[in-house]
Symmetry: C2
């Protein structure tokens, strides 16, 4: 049995999320079917993060155990051939130690959230960004983002379905950068709560629209109350960018 | 009658190109139908460039004459509402003089060609870039690009269906920039021949793959012979970026 670590890119639009579901396509099932087509083995592909429906992956990390004797490069090529037409691609494949775990060994996760700030609807980016028609003040959003950085109880920014034991997380990075009509919010932490990035981006957008002040974000955070969340951003603009080990 | 200048973005994937066709969808027809839905007027929407099937627009310029009394902002909003679900968006709309012509008044056109240089297939970018599996030497491509800049007879880089009177064009910019696995080729000229950008990019890619030398590009250019073209790049990666007036 050899453990392979995969770097995976995917377009989240057609999927119900990373995790295998009974009633619809998932990235995990697409990869597990590809592994079966290549090796004849029924296996589980474990990921660093289980992204929601409509969320994309640029550099998701995953691992899979395979009995068949196959070189990493050949496995990568074969998976890419067999996973089609699902919009999933294995960008890298290496052999790792048997105790390396894509989820439990992960020391840091990075997300990017893409906003297109304009009145006109999206064309080729539909489903790949959040179109916000109201003019957003990116400087105010950056100021509000700084309030959230650090170790906090993020109950306000956590889905009711979140299964984590503790709502406390340490947010290492939350940056806001505007380039023309595009705004990128980047977030990094050891781990995130369910919906945390989308919830934080939603509140930053309210600040950008001047419907919330920077202090409203602080009050919402300190309230530790999901009912105080201003807005949950849609999945469209969210990309899992990288995992650190 | 008022003449409006439009800035238009579109996803070229579902279209047979800019120009109205009898047997399939076009960007022009989508816009003309939207104008009809808004104004009840059957009009022609003229563009700065008639892009091919599968080619995209980021900042295409166009004009249309409308009899109905309507403010530019309202026209833009109404067109965006009516053009759906076609992936076309009007980003800007202004009133221009009656003799302003999107095509004939245009003094410069800018294109960008996007290459993703990796073995893995594309996911969310499928149809939005050219995936080239062989490692490309971007520095060699930039050197070859410099051979093409300037005033030349571009017969080698011109489609057999090109209707221009002269094959002579002055290429002002042809740059190659790599950012990780992404390579962007930018081209600017007063005007281009049919398939010129894709033909130039195809030959630059051959140089990047080391199948052609920089001198092979010079020889192909000087041959003024379409049969000497090495490779025509696919439409997927081509974006009409901007027009200058």
């Amino acid at each position: 049995m050899t453990r392979f670590a995969l770097t995976v890119e995917y377009d989240g639009r057609p999927f119900m999320g990373w995790q295998r579901q009974k009633h619809g396509p998932s990235v995990q099932a697409a990869l597990e079917e590809a592994v079966f087509a290549v090796t004849g083995e029924r296996t589980v592909v474990h990921a660093a993060g289980r992204t929601d429906a409509g969320v994309h992956g640029l550099g998701m990390r995953a691992h899979v155990d395979i009995g068949k004797d196959i070189a990493p490069f050949r496995l990568m090529e074969a998976l890419n051939a067999r996973v089609r037409p699902a919009p999933v691609a294995v960008l890298d494949c290496v052999v790792v130690a048997d105790d390396w775990h894509a989820r439990f060994s992960c020391l840091g996760r990075g997300y990017e959230y893409r906003i297109v700030n304009r009145r006109a609807p999206l064309t080729w980016e539909a489903g790949l960004a959040w179109q916000v028609p109201q003019l957003l003040d990116a400087a105010a959003m950056a100021e509000a983002a700084a309030v959230l950085v650090g170790r906090h109880d993020f109950t306000t920014f956590r889905s009711a379905h979140c299964q984590a034991d503790s709502p406390v997380r340490t947010l290492d990075v939350l940056s806001v950068a505007r380039d023309g009509e595009r705004i990128a919010v980047r977030a990094a932490a050891r781990s995130f709560l369910h919906h945390q990035v989308r919830s934080m981006v939603g509140c930053l957008a309210l600040v950008g629209m001047r419907r919330w002040s920077v202090d409203d974000v602080r009050v919402a955070l300190e309230a530790r109350d999901r009912a105080r969340l201003g807005l949950n951003a849609p999945p469209d603009g969210l990309f899992f960018v990288s995992a650190v080990y």
